[in-house]
Amino acid sequence: MSILVNKDTRVLVQGITGREGRFHAEQMQAYGTKIVAGVTPGKGGQEVLGVPVYDTVKEAVSNHEIDASIVFVPAAAAADAALEAAHAGIPLVVLITEGIPTLDMVAAVKEIKDLGVRLIGGNCPGLISAEEAKLGIMPGHVFKKGKVGLISRSGTLTYEAAAALSESGLGTTTTVGIGGDPIIGTTFKDLLPLFNEDPETEAVVVIGEIGGSDEEEAAAWVKEHMNKPVVGFIGGRSAPKGKRMGHAGAIIMGDVGTPESKLKAFAEAGIPVADTIDEIVDLVRQKLS
């Protein structure tokens, strides 16, 4: 078991004829992901990586059963592409694209939620259910099947945590990179209930970072509802106020988003916080023993 995606998930790739889309579609196929079709407006009728390409998502869904779409469309058109998938009735949309205008995301996130569709991202590495399916750009080989759910705002740091969990024998169920932007479709607190219900997930690791209040909201949910152990991590604890370190979302504005506030919220919810990535494994082990 896993959350959101598994080996049977039938996947559409939007932007499959582009450089990024094609490269990662091929990597996903190699991992075992069931890609059934692609969409690139104006390129309909071609075949790429053994799957048909359509001009519109609507055409793709009328010819195939599709459970999820992954979007590799350039920033200027990315929010529109995610909306296209949601309006075509695809229940899960993973938006990888980086650099999407914020107000595009504000409008799209509301509309996609109103349609009852789950959006992951944008500016995210995607999600992976270990040894089953990958809807993302992460290096598949570092994820070994196991019992820890992993949620993160970062990319590389997630891979590093996953590698440490894999090496330790704990392994992962599903890993979700929620994205580093201020406006994203799915936050930590949206995913915790899914892991709470997943019989294979025994513990959850939340890799947060400075900026915003997603970690505080997640901690509040854990305190009230979570019946599995959660281990936390906060990146960017030494970052100066008001400076943007790569991720647009990782910025301390006034008193919002400080590491102190996040550490306090985690402590109050009984979530131990690892100081280093290696320590995550030790804390999960302690919690599970």
């Binding site: 920033a75 200027a76 650099g99 999407i100 205008p101 914020t102 107000l103 595009d104 504000v106 409008a107 996130v109 509301k110 509309e111 750009i137 992460m138 290096p139 080989h141 570092v142 993160s152 705002r153 970062s154 990319g155 590389t156 740091l157 997630t158 891979y159 590093e160 590698a163 580093g180 201020p182 406006i183 890799i207 970072e209 400075i210 915003g212 209040s213 997603d214 909201e217 990146g235 960017g236 604890r237 030494s238 970052a239 100066p240 400076k243 943007r244 370190m245 790569g246 991720h247 647009a248 979302g249 990782a250 006034g254 008193d255 100081d275 280093t276 990535i277 290696d278």
Partner: protein, 377 residues
């Protein structure tokens, strides 16, 4: 991207927001000429991309005949490390009441949020800390926009006094400007009600969303490169996410999260990072070579810590870039590296016998580089 006050006011005026007549001066003589044209008291305001101009002495009232002297004192002044090169000379406003109106992107509600307060003319973050109830917040539905009736309700709730329709009108115009220019922040502070009952934006601030600048080529041209650190400009040309910091350990890594974490580790080890540099995903040797060259060029850097977790990025590509930089002799400081992940073994083989300190663990590597640059501070 930050705009100057005079630029923000020009944009707001295009959306109908009343602003005091004003012009930009680059010399005391020009300031005097502008003030004399107005023929009445003016306010002379430093135009620099930093808050707290007033407290630093960068905002002063002047009669037309005093304008040259006052402008002369403000021009060339250093405000938080930035030199004042231009001033806004604007007609002074007869202030009866000072309010606050602003829009920001709020992550929690995932909307643009309107904030209105009776407590204007002061730092709004200070108000948020000391008297949060004085700020009325309203998340705007992105599909409907900000409606007049909603705005009137917010104005009433915040306790603003003055012509209700005019106040609401200005605030809706502020919202239209916020959306129209793709801002991440737009505020009028103070929003002044004059003795005559007029409503006017006496000061304004707009930050633009960098991701949306492609839609506003005219605004993108307003970026002032001289306001940034020279190394940040050079890094921008290479396409790196680079931030200059004030320590002495150069930091390079792949992925924003990993680089932020690496800065944390350097701090934990008692050191101070000189920069944040993310080479991005899938970087080739040449990109890494340029990154090392850039960091080595920083005179503050006494040692470099390269932290790589290979995913899409191959650790051996990184190693090749580092070795090229070392062999060209452009690196005069010790280099500590930690490589793991994709192509880790190949990378280690390449690095064998090279003048690099290789560590298997990030924290150990951080401790090592801090010792090499002279120990914990």
């Amino acid at each position: 991207m930050k705009l100057h006050e005079f630029q923000a006011k020009e944009l707001l005026a295009q959306y109908g927001v009343p602003v005091p007549p004003g012009k930009v001066a680059y010399s005391p003589e020009e300031a005097e000429r502008i003030a004399k044209d107005f023929g009445r008291q003016v306010v002379i305001k430093a135009q620099v991309h930093v808050g707290g101009r007033g407290k630093a002495g960068g905002v002063k009232l002047a009669q037309p005949e005093e304008a040259r002297e006052v402008a002369g004192k403000i021009l060339g002044m250093d405000i938080k490390g930035l030199t004042v090169k231009k001033v806004l000379v604007a007609e002074a406003v007869d202030i009866a009441r000072e309010y606050y109106a602003g829009l920001i992107i709020d992550r929690s509600s995932q909307r643009a949020v309107l904030m209105v307060s009776k407590e204007g003319g002061v730092d709004i973050e200070e108000v948020a800390r000391t008297n949060p109830k004085a700020i009325v917040k309203f998340p705007v539905d992105p599909h409907k926009g900000l409606r007049y009736f909603e705005t009137r309700e917010v104005v009433k709730q915040a306790g603003l006094e003055g012509n209700l329709n005019r106040l609401a009108n200005v605030i809706v115009q502020l919202y239209n400007a916020f959306v129209g220019v793709d801002a991440s922040l737009a505020e009028i502070n103070p929003l002044v009600v004059t003795e005559q009952g007029e409503i006017i934006a006496a000061d304004a601030k707009i930050d633009l969303d960098d991701n949306a600048l492609f839609r506003h080529p005219d605004l993108a041209k307003l970026r002032e490169v001289e306001a940034e650190h020279p190394l940040e400009i050079e890094a921008g040309n290479y396409g790196f996410a680079y931030v200059k910091l004030d320590g002495d350990v150069g930091v390079i890594g792949n992925g924003a999260g990993l680089v932020m974490y690496t800065l944390d580790l350097v701090n934990r080890a008692g050191g101070k990072p000189a920069n944040f540099l993310d080479i991005g995903g899938g970087a080739k040797a040449e990109v890494v070579y340029n990154a090392v060259k850039l960091v080595a060029k920083d005179p503050d850097v006494k040692g470099i810590f390269i932290n790589i977790f290979g995913g899409i990025t191959r650790a051996d590509e990184v190693a090749k870039g580092v070795i090229q930089a070392l062999e060209e002799g452009i690196v005069k400081v010790p280099v500590v590296m930690r490589v793991a992940g994709t192509a880790e073994e190949e990378a280690k083989k390449l690095l064998e016998g090279k003048p690099i300190y290789l560590y298997p663990n990030s924290l150990e590597a951080a401790k090592a580089i801090v010792t090499m640059v002279g120990g914990a501070k």
